[in-house]
């Protein structure tokens, strides 16, 4: 369909880890005073920075630096101060020189599990801003980075945007490590890999790529890494920022990256051979590549038995189609082809519209826009008021609008059905794009009737068929047809029929199932008289 030029991404400075804030020193000298001067000049006079001098084992001059707001103070007191100030008993009769001091500290003294020696000034600054504590010792170039980070986080709760009736209730939170642990707890194989890169010049946000090495296609991975490495921005505050930089067609109304708050959904995607991108500070993980099918599938489909799952999924698809074309269909039939509907009903419709001062398309457009305003208002209000607003907005205004002759009752019914239909779409981003596309369709239907509606639909369909997400055709598996994929598209086939992973992902390991055919149940509890 409408073909957009590939957006040019900024090319400069592809290496993420060595990005520096201006004025950062290269190397530490080893002279404590001058090193401290350097650190002070970079960190400035923030009030939450702590630079604490101490005598290590009463022999050496040292200093520890940390932000009081980022660290676990108790751990610093217990695991750093105490062993450094009181020489531990097992070291009492050993003589310690400056040369082996660092090793002794790392291996025998400090009770911190994650320690690292760094010599680069920039690395030390990075570590401090990250929440680590840095230990500098007079006479030794470089310092010791001790992980003492402690960040406030909320507990793991049920995801707000993706409810499920049946299935796990936990959701991702804002802290990357907790999110990864949720995935790791589910996938217990060694080749489940996490690759972390830092993106954002000022926020230095950690962005994790999660995948199973023996399944995910290396080309997909390479492409994802390439696109991530090209991002050059001040700050990444949410995974949505990343999405907008890595998607294939930024001008398309349709989302080409799926997001989820649910660890079970993320796990299922990883097992299918997709790659998950998680961003520190965002509870939403990104799933790439994404095809249109994914936007009306939910995890409930797989938890329920397959016949019910298929039916429910079909209803959801119907809701999408509804929310897209229903107003346009209504307008074009009423104003261009009223002969299609039965005469009695047509008379009733005409009677309802008798006092309405506008043509059908204007009427529907007005009510649609006010419905969108109402939806947005309900979303922004505190939950307690939201309920009241929806009652006042929908019931009172709707009723009054009809009573005042401003809109016909059938229009209100159509709009209500459309809105409900769009709320039945599980993916909020896909629902919103479809909800917005119904306005152009409505106008086309108002201008050219059913013909305009059809032309509009063909344009939308052609656009969908043209889209790609990371090289995967967006309408896969419907077009191009993939037999295995069709089992999990419009219908949700039985789990034991998903023998292969989706073919469009070109996974390294195709097989999902260890056996063929329908699993047979043995009649265990049948009474067997001869055996008694």
């Amino acid at each position: 369909m409408i073909r957009f030029r590939n957006r040019k991404k900024p090319q400069k400075n592809p290496n993420l880890t060595t990005r520096r804030t201006p004025g950062t020193p290269e190397k530490l000298t080893g002279c404590l005073e001058s090193d401290l001067m350097i650190v002070r000049s970079c960190l400035g006079d923030s009030d939450d920075i702590e630079i604490r001098h101490l005598h290590i084992f009463n022999e050496f001059q040292g200093v520890i630096i940390y932000y009081t707001t980022l660290v676990d103070t108790l751990s610093i007191y217990r695991d750093i101060h105490k062993p450094l100030m009181y020489k531990p008993r097992h070291l009492e009769d050993k003589s310690i020189h400056l040369d082996n001091l660092m090793d002794t500290l790392m291996n025998e003294t400090l009770y911190i599990s994650e320690t690292a020696r760094v010599s680069d000034g920039a690395d030390i600054l990075d570590a401090i801003t990250e929440g680590s504590t840095v230990l500098l010792i007079d006479g030794i170039p470089g310092g010791l980075v001790l992980d003492t980070r402690q960040i406030e986080k909320r507990g793991i709760e049920q995801p707000q945007t993706e409810h499920s009736i049946r299935g796990p209730k936990d959701g991702f939170i804002e802290v990357l490590d907790s999110n990864i642990s949720l995935l790791r707890a589910r996938i217990k194989v060694g080749d489940f890999r996490i690759k972390i890169v830092r993106i954002g010049k000022r926020t230095k946000t950690r962005v994790a790529l999660c995948y199973i090495e023996s399944i995910a296609n290396p080309k997909l991975l390479k492409e994802a890494e390439k696109r991530l490495s090209k991002i050059d921005i001040d700050g990444i505050l949410d995974s949505g920022y990343i999405e907008q930089f890595i998607e294939d067609h930024p001008y398309s109304p349709f989302p080409q990256v799926q997001n989820t708050e649910r660890p079970d959904k993320a796990t299922a995607s990883i097992l299918e051979g997709r790659v998950i991108i998680m961003v520190d500070g965002s509870p939403f993980s990104l799933i790439i590549p994404a095809v249109f099918n994914q936007f009306y599938q939910v995890t409930d489909d797989y938890s329920e038995r397959f016949i019910m799952g298929s039916l429910v999924r079909f209803i959801r698809l119907l809701a999408i189609v509804f929310s897209l074309i229903f107003p346009a269909l209504y307008v074009s039939i009423i104003s261009f082809n009223p002969e299609m509907i039965p005469t009695d009903f047509a008379v009733a419709v005409a009677g309802g519209r008798a006092g309405v001062p506008f043509p059908a398309v204007v009427e529907v457009l007005l009510i649609e826009v006010s419905m969108e305003v109402l939806r947005e208002a309900t979303l922004r209000l505190p939950q307690q008021i939201g309920g009241a607003l929806s009652i006042v907005g929908v019931l009172v205004v709707g009723e009054a609008a009809v009573g005042a002759g401003f809109a016909s009752p059938i229009t209100v019914v159509v709009i209500a059905l459309t809105t409900i239909g769009s709320f039945a779409t599980p993916a909020y981003n896909a629902a919103i794009s479809i909800r917005m596309l119904r306005f152009p369709l409505l106008i086309a239907g108002g201008m050219f009737g059913l013909y305009g509606l059809m032309i509009g639909l063909i344009i939308i369909m052609n656009h969908l068929l043209f889209l790609d997400s990371f090289g995967v055709p967006y309408m896969n598996p419907v077009t191009p047809v993939s037999k295995q994929g069709l089992k999990d598209s419009l219908i949700r086939g039985p789990l034991w029929s998903f023998k292969k992973r989706p073919s469009h992902l070109h996974t390294l390991d195709d097989d999902r199932l260890g056996y063929e055919g329908v699993p047979k149940a043995e009649p265990v509890l049948q009474s067997n008289k001869q055996g008694e």
């Binding site: 073909r3 080309k219 002969e339 299609m340 009737g449 052609n462 043209f466 077009t479």
Partner: protein, 374 residues
Amino acid sequence: MQASSHITERQVGAVVISAIIGVGILALPRIAAEEANTGAPLVTLLGIGIAFIGLLLLTLLGIRFPRESIFEYGQRIIGRPLAYVFNTCLAVFFILLTALAVREFGEVITSAVLRRTPTEVTIITMMILVVMATRQKLLKFTYFHVFYLPFILVPGLAIVLVSLQNAELLNLQPIIGNIPARYGKGALTIAALFQPAFIVTLLIPAMQTPKKAIKSFLGGIFISGTLYMLIVCAAVAVFGPHEINHLMWPTLELARATTIPGDTLERLDAIFIIVWVVSVFTSLAASYYISINGAQKVFGSQDHRFISHFFLPFVFILAMIPKSVFSLYVFVEIVGIIGLALTIGYPFILLIVALLRKVRGEPHGNSSEVQETD
């Protein structure tokens, strides 16, 4: 991560079907019955036969030259200057075909759903849609055809099925038609309806194994031919051979005459027309794509997006030339029959000359590498 960029044989079959079934399906029963009255199904069969031969020649050529389209191997078989003339003729012919088809489409829309909208508006909107689709690469273009295939076949079959309630078997007898029945012209006009299937020549080079094209082309002709036969039979059986002559678009009348029980929808014709827009779109896009490709070879240009925009006004002007529906159908018949000489005759000459001169295309696959190792 790039999916296979080859076109599969099923996709080629789908393109053949959706390219063939287009505007012509509405007037088809009238064309068939006009000269041969009850022999209409026989005429249709003859027409399918003629089209079959033409496409068979094209496919055989495609298999002989698996890496090229007719615009390219033509140059190698009969030489550049002569092939240049024929390529120009083909491009012009397919532009003309597109123009006439889009005009016919506009007339139908005006008479069936948008009575007060000028035909020009329908034609322009449709052509813009076609241009937008033909700007795409071949693979994506194939996807359009594959996806829309059910929307093309199902309404046609549904119309045939629901019209069975009014069918009279007597209307179809005698099968050979009342004497004097003239088969020739009707058969040729029907064969001309199959011309957008010429697009196989562009698809074969993009296939992984071009030899399988013969299978997909047979399947495509079989399915679209069956649908054509069914529609002609249904229309003649419902209206009778004489009544049909007075109907401009008998298939549309079939839809108009049928109701589905339950009184939910009183008239089906608008719905039928609207779904039919899809099949018009695919077959217009196919013939426009051929002409763009031909023109690209003639102009020696690589930018097919530009050519696709460039031809738009020409198509529009050509489409507006016929003064009325009746003169339009005179044009359609003449252009169709001249076109047959081109779309069947030219491949025929090429095949004969190729056989005589023993010209062959490079085999598909990595032939260049093979040559290097030799």
